[in-house]
């Protein structure tokens, strides 16, 4: 049954919220890598009696395959040495990719990343911040990240060409450029990081903190960047709307900027990422507090908004972001080592290793705000799980996070250990009784992200879906249950059996190639020839695997 063309999974409790299935026992039939309605009797079966069946996990926002991640890997030889990862013993034939060793830590090596995602029951993941100039690098890392279907979000919003179009009021050309860029880089979605603020960091203006702040000497504001790119993504009918990391990340009082950004795009589809990092009350001289409930109240009332939480988990982490000015501040406040890479004409990159400590007041506040967002959300389809791996914590901490959501007793015990200084009066400290159900977990970890990403064949188990399936052994210890799935299938191939990784197929590349008006190309060529250090002809990434996803 290992690589059977056909397989029937029997007896498990199916959690397939996209199709309204909530724990009913039923068969799942698989043929040729997809789910099918029925199979003839006599096909191999997998007995899942007493187990929980969900679609494979979908990570909507992670940092695991980029030049920035590689800079981060290079900074932590100590973490790698502490977490060796021998090659798994696979049962695959010699024409498959050979099993590979690697190292872990907060930013594992590529093969280890793929294996660990699979071991967690995740079968799809997106790297959420790729500088277009470095897209070729990301695709090479994805080639070496087995088990997961992967894609990249490409960074726009601080790139010189776009800023010039906005300044000139050329919104249609900006849209065509975004489409050209997605096609050229093999990207899946448009990512905005700190709109205009990274360019401000590079000019010496240092940062933009409010959405109507103007970029030094130019008629460009974060608001204009947000509007232009949100409209571009929607006009191009991209499967995922613009993916926004707001201005002013990590600063006390930044919830105002976050709400202003959401209001600026009111009525337009937009995804606001790692929301926890953008939900702080207080301000300069006023200290820190939670604005989680206030922001979530807005999200709940506005169906065009979606978010992932960006939960902070206590322990070591690695902050990696294109939001370079934030990392400079983190370096100055923490005294820890710091990498900054300014990337020509496009964006920035900042990296600082970090440790979120329960006894540190701000860390405890961040942890609490993330939980508030989850627990006060009225629509799990629009408020999905992430730790902004590895920024808020490793993806390996998802099971512990799921436990915090499903088990109030565990959550309350953890809360007692956290520094209470900034938690007084917070919703979490006042007590929130809610406990997530298995179906809600299935929504925030697979069905919801798949829907937000426009992945029609993922995140559900109806006929026609990819046969990416995770099967858990029930356990009263929720963290244990989700950390060690009993079986994982990827495109119909059993990759985890009895909790052990057995096969590590190459994943598919998820990308789009939207149409654009070719008239933009000569103008872009002139821009490149004047300012870029890379020839225009050498900029697009060639030889990408597979076909782009259909659009519309």
């Amino acid at each position: 049954m290992s690589r059977a063309e056909s397989l029937r999974i029997t007896g498990g409790a199916v959690h397939d919220p996209a199709n309204g299935v909530d724990g009913e026992v039923g068969d799942i039939c698989i043929e040729g890598g997809s789910i099918v309605a029925e199979l003839p009797s006599g096909v191999p079966t997998l007995d899942a009696k007493g187990m929980v069946i969900m679609p494979g996990g979908v990570d909507i926002h992670s940092h695991f395959a980029s030049s920035s991640c590689n800079h981060a890997r290079r900074m932590i030889p100590d973490e790698h040495a502490m977490d060796p990862a021998p090659a798994p013993r696979l049962q695959q034939d010699a024409d498959g990719a050979p099993p590979r060793s690697g190292t872990g830590g907060s930013v594992p090596s590529t093969f280890t990343t793929g294996y660990r995602y699979a071991g967690l029951g995740y079968t799809t993941a997106f790297d959420a911040a790729v500088a277009p100039l470095m897209a070729r690098h990301s695709h090479a890392e994805l080639d070496d990240t087995p088990c997961v279907d992967g894609g990249i979000f490409v960074l726009l919003g601080n790139d010189e060409y776009l800023l010039r179009q906005i300044e000139a009021g050329e919104r249609e050309r900006a849209r065509d450029y975004a489409a050209w860029l997605l096609q050229s880089t093999g990207g899946y979605a448009i990512k905005i990081v700190n709109p205009g603020g990274v360019e401000a960091w590079k000019t010496g203006q240092r940062n933009l903190t409010a959405i109507d702040d103007a970029l030094d000497g130019r008629r460009i504001t974060p608001r204009a960047i947000l509007e232009t790119l949100a409209d571009a993504a929607n006009d191009l009918r991209l499967p995922h709307p613009v993916h926004i990391h707001c201005n002013n990340l990590g600063r006390a009082g930044n919830a105002e900027t976050t709400l202003a950004s959401m209001q600026a795009l009111s009525g337009r589809r937009a995804h606001f990422t790692h929301l926890q990092f953008h939900c702080y009350g207080g301000g300069d001289g006023k200290g820190w507090s939670s604005a989680g409930p206030k922001v979530m109240e807005y999200v709940n009332a506005h169906p065009e908004v979606s978010t992932d939480v960006g939960q902070v988990m206590f322990g070591p982490a690695m902050t990696i972001t294109a939001d370079a000015p934030v990392e400079y501040l983190l370096h100055k406040s923490s005294g820890r080592r710091w990498t900054n890479v300014d990337i020509e004409l496009e964006t920035g990159c900042g990296i600082v290793p970090l440790n979120y400590k329960e006894k540190a007041a701000v860390s405890a506040l961040q942890w609490a705000i993330g939980l508030e967002l989850f627990l006060l959300s009225s629509d799990p389809w629009r408020v999905v799980l992430s730790t902004d791996h590895p920024n808020g914590g490793s993806f390996l901490s998802y099971p512990a996070l799921i436990q915090l959501l499903m088990d109030r007793a565990v959550r309350d015990e953890r809360l007692k250990l956290a520094n209470p200084k900034l938690l007084a009066g917070s919703a979490l400290a006042d007590g929130i009784a809610r406990e997530y159900s298995l179906n809600e977990i299935a929504i925030i970890t697979r069905a919801g992200p798949a829907r937000l990403l426009g992945l029609r064949k993922k995140g559900h188990l109806a006929p026609g879906a990819d046969a990416d399936i995770t099967i858990y052994q029930r356990d009263p210890d929720i963290a244990k249950m989700f950390a060690t799935p009993r079986y994982v299938l990827k495109s119909g191939t059993l990759i985890v059996e009895e909790g052990q990784l057995r096969r590590a197929p190459t994943g598919r590349r998820l990308r789009v190639a939207p149409r654009f008006d070719e008239a933009v190309v000569p103008d872009l060529r002139r821009h490149f020839e004047t300012f870029s250090s890379v020839s225009f002809a050498n900029y697009p990434v060639g030889d990408l695997p597979g076909d782009p996803m259909p659009i519309g």
Binding site: P77, H80, D143, T339, N340, S533, S535
Partner: protein, 419 residues
């Protein structure tokens, strides 16, 4: 004529080269550059497959190579050269992982010291186009790039017009710091001459000045140093340029760390980046692949069954101690030291790469391949770790990626048979 060819003659990796081909030879490159000429040559490479010095078929040679490496008594060394594509490097690492081999590469000790310093501190850097577009102040620390990096100044750093430097050269201030006999460019707006024993002290004084720390009385030879630091602080975007590869003058091993710390500190009062000049070939690419596959940029030892960082016992050091039962050289041996070559002559060795058949290693098996970017398509990385596509003007005798992939398959098949 083949256009937009990427040249790996130095770490500049200029990707705007026009290559004129006549028959199977390169007859001209434009713009002309001595290192480019040396890199491309006429593009001819030998096309031989030898087993114990005798011509062999590819299949036989691969089978023999797999036997030799899989049955080695003792550890295997996999030395990876810089004239291969990133795609070939990935395959070479897969072979090394499978064999539990020790990897070494052409990363010089000087460059390695810089990589290690960046591990301890991080760094503030920028891609070359950012230097072109923003640097209004350039400080050259004991390096005049014009010899080893002929187009660095004209293409990236000094002369071009940038988005924020519309005046080109006129809009840039040049500070030249010489250390002993290592000179900075002649044409400079401000000069500082340091003795080799003073450079670390000078870097400390500069950093202290930038941080606003109180300085005591400075010796005469360092008196000008705070002024240089203050000039950097007045920049809108300062770029410090240094040679990451070995140079003539003996170098304090802490130089790179001092430059990293100074550059980081400059990001308080202004913006600043450190540009580390790296030699040619795809060496930054290999360090990049090693990092994503193992977590470490160099000196990786797979012998424990997982990657270990063996900085103090790099493979090439062990070679001279006679530490290996067999070796695979993937890529050219040109960068190897004489004593390494002498020792490898006594070690059963497989060489797969450009001019393998001409390697005087006493090799058991040699398979000639093309050169990355001259005969073989793929990716290579510039000194600033920007990946670039390779558009080969000539066709290869056979591809290194292909030959190494065949070897990987043969080693796996041999393992699977348990023999």
């Amino acid at each position: 004529m083949v256009e937009q060819v990427t040249c790996l003659g130095c770490g500049c990796a200029c990707d705007d080269i026009s290559v004129r081909v006549d028959g199977d030879r390169i007859v001209e490159i434009a713009p002309p550059c001595p290192l480019g000429q040396a890199w491309f040559g006429d593009g001819t490479v030998p096309d031989k497959i030898l087993r114990d010095g005798e011509p062999s078929s590819l299949d036989e040679a691969i089978a023999g190579a797999a036997d030799l490496l899989a049955t080695a008594s003792g550890k295997v060394l996999v030395y990876i050269g810089t004239d291969l594509t990133t795609q070939a490097h990935r395959v070479a690492l897969a072979i090394a992982d499978l064999l539990g081999a020790v990897i070494d590469q052409a990363t010089s000790d000087a460059a390695a010291a810089g990589l290690v310093a960046a591990q301890g501190r991080g760094r503030a850097t920028a891609t070359l186009g950012e230097i072109r577009n923003r640097a209004d102040t350039l400080l050259f620390w004991a390096i005049d790039p014009s010899t080893r990096y002929p187009r660095y100044l004209s293409r990236y750093a000094l002369e071009p017009v940038g988005t924020h430097v519309p005046g080109g050269r006129r809009g840039r201030t040049v500070i030249a710091v010489s250390v002993g006999t290592d000179r900075a460019p002649k044409e400079a707006d401000l000069r500082l001459a340091l003795g080799p024993d003073d450079e670390i002290a000078a870097l400390s004084v500069m950093r202290a000045t930038v941080l606003g720390n109180t300085l005591g009385e400075l010796p005469e030879r360092l008196r000008q140093v705070p002024d240089v630091a203050r000039r950097l602080m007045q920049a809108r975007y300062a770029v410090l340029v240094h040679e990451a590869e070995p140079s003539d003058e003996r170098r304090n091993p802490h130089r790179t760390e001092g430059l990293i710390a100074l550059t980081q500190a400059l990001n308080g009062p202004t913006r600043a980046a450190l540009s580390s000049l790296r030699a040619g070939g795809n060496r930054s690419g290999l360090e990049s692949v090693l990092t994503w596959q193992t977590g470490y940029p160099l000196a990786v030892d797979y012998s424990a069954g997982f990657p270990r960082y063996a900085l103090s016992s790099r493979g090439l050091l062990q070679v001279v101690q006679g530490g290996f039962g067999a070796a695979l050289v993937a890529g050219s041996v040109a960068a190897l030291a004489t004593d390494t070559i002498t020792t490898l002559a006594r070690t059963p060795t497989v060489v797969i790469g450009p001019r393998a058949s001409e390697a005087s290693l006493g090799s058991k098996i040699t398979i000639d391949t093309g050169v990355a970017g001259i005969h073989e398509a793929g990716t290579a990385y510039r000194m600033d770790e920007v990946p670039l596509p390779l558009r080969p003007p000539l066709s290869a005798p056979r591809s290194a990626t292909g030959a190494l992939s065949s070897l990987l398959a043969a080693v796996r098949a041999r393992r699977a048979r348990g023999t």
